[in-house]
Every structure is written in C-alpha cells, then in structure tokens.
C-alpha cells in the first residue's frame, strides 16, 4: 500500500507539470496571436481614420462651395464656437460629421470633426480670401484594448491615442486612431477658355482658340488681345465624353471626362481624359436692397454704378434693345471705378444697332434668367477688359436649358458662366470674336469664330468654385 501511494503522488506531479507546460505553450500562442491581431486591427483602424478625415475635408469643401450657390444655408449645422464655447479664431466654423458606421470585424465606426477658417495670411495678391480646412478623422480600436503592437517602428508611423489624446493631451473616452488633414481651398474663377458640361463642337477648321493676358503688356496690347502676342493657354474641357475639335486651332489642352477628342489635328496642347468640374448652379440673387424694378428695357436708359462695397443693384424684367437704343452702364462719376449688378428675370436680346454699353471704369455683374441673343456689337465693353464683365445664367426652376447665341461680325469681351445654357457662337460674317471665357452646358462654334481666353480671368473676383490648392497630413 505504501508503494501504491508513492506512485499516485508521482502521477499528480506529472499531471501538474504537463498541465503547466501545456498552459505555458497555450499562453505563448494566445499572447502572440493577440499581439498580431491587435497590430492588424490598429493598422486597419488607422487607415480608416484617413477616410474619415477625407470625409471631413469633403464636408468643408462642400460648405465652401455652397456659399457660392446658397449662401444663406451654406453653414447650417456649423458652429462658430469650439466645444468650450469660445469663439473660433479667424472667423472659424466647426462641425462634427455624422457618424459613419459599417459592419465587419475590427473598427466599425468613423467620426470626423472639421474646422474651416480664414487666416489673414491666406489673402492673395488679388484680395481673395483662401480658406484653411482642418479635418480630424477618428476611429475606435476594437475591444477597447489599450495594448500596443510589439514593433516600435509602427509607433512612429501610426500614433494612436490609447489613453491620452496625442494632440490635445486630454484623456480619451476610448482608445482611438486619429488622423488630421489640412487642406487649403483656393477660390477660382475662370480657368479655361471653354468648359462645358456636355458636348463641345467646333464646326470649322478656321476656328481659333488661344489666350492672352490683359494684365501683361508682353501678352496683350493696351489690355486687348493682340494676335502677335497670343498665348497657348486656351484650354478646352468638358465633363462629357466628346470634344469634336473640327480640326480647329486649339492653342491649349483639350480635356474630356474619360472620353475622346476627335478631329484634333490642330490641338497644340495635351489631350487628357481625366477632367471633371462640378459646375455649381447660379441661384437668383437674394438682395435685400434693390434700386427698383425697371420692367422691360426697350429704349435708351442709363444705370449708374456704386462703390465696390456698395454696388448699385437693379432688377429688370427683360432687355430688348433694337434700332439705335442703348442701355448704358455708367460710373458714379467720370473716371471712378464703379460697380453695378443687374438681375434680368427674362431674356436679354440685343439686335440691330441696339446694345448694352459698359462704359469705362464700370464693373458689371449681370444675372440673366432667360435666353440671351447678342448680335454684332450688341454688348460693348469700353474698357476692353474681360474681368470687367461677368454674365451669369441663373439656374432655371424647371431645369430646362436656356440658349445663348452670339452672332454677327462683332466682338464680345467678358466672362459667361451659364451651366444650364446651350451656347452657340455662330458668326454670320468673317470676324466674330469672343475675348474672355465661357462655361456652359454645351458649346458650339461655327464659321470663323474665335475665342481668346483672358488669363486675367483666372484671378478675377468672379468666384465660380473652390479647389484644393494644398494637402497635408499632420502626422506628429
């Protein structure tokens, strides 16, 4: 019996040793597997945080762009104070992007906070304000774990906030990965000679599209286009698939949206397929002060401008000038830079010798809800500077297309932004010239017409959009 008891004790010891060894092996396996698991979910969470931050930047860009089309509601949901109630610097605004959730293993929720501000350092030489957008994307580490991966090289790249927020130093509610992206948004005006949402059709090889710069004497003469000084930045682009260049002379790039440029024998620049520009629709003005409703303008009339900070605003039912009748846009006093804004709720029709005269020193912005037909020298820009005239085609309520036609032997100097209009430059003679830039739904050019893009429009105070000028991820 004594020997039997000794054997029993040995068995227990052996069992304990075996159990201990197996437990240690299992422990090592579990520990290493968990380490690998945590590292991988931290990697994926960190990568998803970038998506959240980019969503925040998109939200900021969308709000900025909304200021161009719906300024009254662009900042709905945004706050001008931080979480502690302090007013944000640089006229800043902030908002939290709605949670984005998804199913699957690992992190399943993305958050983002975004701030848009306007530091004084971001005012360019043209006086335009650029904006800074800072978006932080946040994802939560699954399992609420505070374990960090074993490889120190990962910590330098993927800086996680397991207990303390690495930027603010405050305690975090949940272990998280955060990434911060700073974007600088640049206000842009007219960047190309022609931009269309759809087809661009050039129907004659005598058509010429090129550029000049009314600010630069080496690229223009007295601010006007000079064939001897032409430039090759007359870019043509469409959001659609086709540009029919008609073997016309395009001194610049021709870009489509995954489409093709056909009959492009005389395109001197690049032919690209990666163009897209969301053409922001033009809303009706929401002016609170108007100089009165002048009804239909069919006779001689003069509208006087005001200062830049207080432009004079007029609302007209339509403009239909024929015969020798002239609608004059005059400065507040001779030689004084003046600003006038006109809202035409109907058509603008200039036929025969009827015309609109934009007198020297007058800057005009004209909103047109109806169709436009300009014949010959129907619109005279006395300053010969395209940045002095901007015509905006208001987005129609019914969504139907509007028409814009320029005919005759005259010339037109100005910028046209009408994303819902079919524009036709149809010279009836031999010398139809357009100096400026056109943005429209479709663009058709016939006969001997020419478009000379004024590069000064790129810096003009006509905002048509914002674009990302700088992108940086703050990874400290």
């Amino acid at each position: 019996m004594k020997r039997l008891q000794q054997n029993g004790a040995s068995v227990i010891i052996m069992v304990l040793i075996t159990f201990t060894v197996i437990s240690m092996i299992v422990g090592v396996v579990v520990f290493r597997t968990l380490n690998n698991y945590h590292t991988l979910v931290q990697i994926s969470s960190w990568q998803e945080a970038l998506l959240a931050a980019e969503s925040g930047n998109d939200t900021g860009m969308a709000a900025l762009r909304a200021t161009l089309s719906d300024s009254n509601n662009a900042w709905n949901g945004w706050s001008t104070a931080d979480a502690n109630g302090n007013t944000l610097a640089n006229s800043g605004r902030t908002c939290a992007v709605s949670n984005i959730t998804h199913t699957g293993e690992g992190n399943s929720q993305l958050n983002a906070t975004v701030t848009v501000d306007a530091p004084a350092q971001l005012i360019d030489s043209s006086g335009r304000q650029w904006y800074r957008i800072r978006a932080t994307g946040i994802t939560y580490l699954p399992g609420n774990t505070k374990l960090i991966g074993p490889d120190k090289r990962d910590h330098l790249l993927r800086r996680l906030s397991l207990v303390w927020d690495r930027k603010t130093g405050t305690r975090v509610m949940q272990p998280q990965a955060t990434r911060l992206i700073e974007v600088i948004a640049q206000p842009v005006a007219f960047q190309n000679a022609l931009v269309a949402a759809g087809l661009i059709q050039l129907n004659n090889y005598n058509i010429v599209i090129d550029s000049y710069d009314s600010r630069d004497p080496s690229k223009s003469t007295n601010g006007s286009y000079d064939p001897a000084k032409f430039q090759q930045n007359g870019d043509v682009a469409t959001d659609g698939n086709v540009i029919d260049a008609g073997n016309a002379y395009i001194y610049g790039d021709a870009s489509t949206n995954a489409g093709a440029v056909i009959n492009a024998a005389h395109v001197t620049g690049l032919q690209r397929t990666d163009f897209y520009q969301d053409l922001i629709p033009v809303q009706r003005p929401s002016w609170t002060v108007i100089n009165g409703n002048y009804g239909d303008i069919v006779n001689n009339m003069t509208l006087v401008g005001g200062s830049q900070s207080n432009p004079q605003r007029y609302k007209l039912s339509s403009v239909k000038e024929t015969g020798n009748n002239v609608l004059s846009l005059a400065p507040s006093a001779p030689g004084v830079e003046s600003y006038v804004e006109i809202w035409i709720t109907g058509d603008m029709n200039l036929q025969g010798n009827g015309e609109i005269e934009l007198q020297p020193h007058v800057h005009a912005k004209i909103y047109v809800e109806g169709n436009m037909a300009i014949n010959g020298n129907g619109f005279i820009n006395d300053s010969s500077q395209a940045p002095y005239l901007e015509i905006l085609g208001v987005h129609p309520d019914d969504g139907a297309s509007r028409s814009v036609t320029l005919t005759g032997n005259g010339s037109f100097i100005g910028a046209l932004y009408a994303p819902n209009a079919d524009v036709v430059l149809s010279d009836g003679g031999t010398n139809g010239t357009y100096c400026g830039s056109i943005v429209a739904k479709t663009i058709t050019m016939n006969n001997h017409t020419a478009v000379h893009y004024d590069e000064a429009l790129g810096d003009a105070p006509f905002l048509t959009d914002y674009k990302i000028a700088s992108w940086f991820e703050d990874n400290k």
Partner: protein, 199 residues
C-alpha cells in the same frame, strides 16, 4: 489457506502487468508520445510561420503606409539616382521650430509653409535587405526588413506614383522566385499637391 490466498490476492494487485502488457503499454505510450511530439513540433512551426507571416505583413503595410503618407503630401517626387537611394521627395515645411503647425502664406497662387524654396526632403534608401526613411535632418530609421527588391514608376504626367516592393519570405521552403513574387506589395498614390486641375 485463507491467509495464503489473501496474500496472493494482495500481491497480484501490486504486480498486475505481465511482460506482454508492459511491452504493449510501452509501444502505445511511445506512439502517443511520438504523436504528441510531432504535433507539438508542427504547432510550433505553424506558430512560427504565422508569426513570420504577420511580421512580414506588418512590414509590408508599414512601408506601404509610409510611402502613401509621404507621396500624398509630396511637392516633388524623384526616383533614386543610385543603387542605395530609392526615392527622394519633398514635403511642405509644415512645422515651425517649436514643432507647431505653421499658418501658410500665398505667393503667386502657390501655398507655402515656411520658406517657399526650402521644403523638407524625405529620403528612402535601401541598405542590405532593409529600407530606411529619413525626414529632413532627422536620423534615418528602418521601416522594413527582408526586402528583396524595390521599384518605382512615376506616371500620368508626374501626378501618380506606383511603387512595387518584393519581400524575401522568411518562412518559405524553398524560397523560390514564385514565393518571393507572391509577397509583392503594390502602392498607387495620387500626388494630392499635383492635382490635375493645377498647372
């Protein structure tokens, strides 16, 4: 008699196994132990293989993430000019001397952080089988090991960068060319600061 048989019975309890039983037990035990040892070795190899795989994967993800991070914010990108240098790029000088973000300025429609002519240089080099990354004047740090080959191509008018990294698998027997090729990591990044809509 009664005592004799009681004594025999007690002896038989202590000496229950015959030689045949012992041999059979030994054989069975040997088989069990051999199986356990084999299983333990296989498990160990599996664990090591899994661990190596995870380590290699982390290396691949790290170098890919570093490249993507730097390329996205790059101002310029240049392929390496010698065998050791893989990639040279510049990024905005975003931080001031106190390591705080700068407010940029605008000059000729270009955004500048700090000096317009002195961006921060980021250098990717390869030494042996390791890839190193050096940002500015900081010391170079190893970001991946067991790298066999690194290739880079700049495409789409210098606006898209594609990189291709082939690793040398640690746990592969034999480490054939196919096995190495299977570890290739591709990275395609659009240079955000050289967008299509910028000249």
């Amino acid at each position: 008699m009664t005592h004799f048989f009681q004594g025999r019975h007690a002896f038989s309890k202590i000496a229950a196994f015959t030689l045949v039983e012992l041999m059979m037990t030994t054989v069975v035990a040997s088989l069990i132990i051999a199986s356990l040892v084999s299983a333990a070795i296989a498990m160990q190899r599996n664990l090591a293989a899994g661990d190596d795989y995870a380590t290699a994967k982390c290396d691949q993800m790290r170098v890919s993430d570093y490249l993507a991070l730097d390329l996205r914010r790059a101002l310029t990108v240049t392929s390496g000019t010698n065998a050791g240098t893989l990639l040279v790029l510049t990024i905005p000088d975003y931080y001031d001397s106190n390591k705080q973000p700068r407010v940029p300025t605008i000059s000729n429609d270009v955004v500048n952080y700090g000096s317009a002519i002195a961006p921060v240089t980021v250098l990717y080099t390869k030494s042996g089988s390791s890839i190193y990354r050096q940002e500015g004047s900081n010391a170079a740090t190893e970001i991946a090991s067991n790298v066999s080959d690194f290739q880079i191509s700049v495409q789409d008018l210098n606006k898209v960068v594609k990189t291709q990294i082939i690793f040398a698998p640690q746990f592969s027997r034999p480490s054939s060319a196919d096995a190495r090729l299977a570890t290739t990591v591709f990275n395609t990044t659009l240079l955000r600061n050289k967008r299509r809509d910028r000249s």
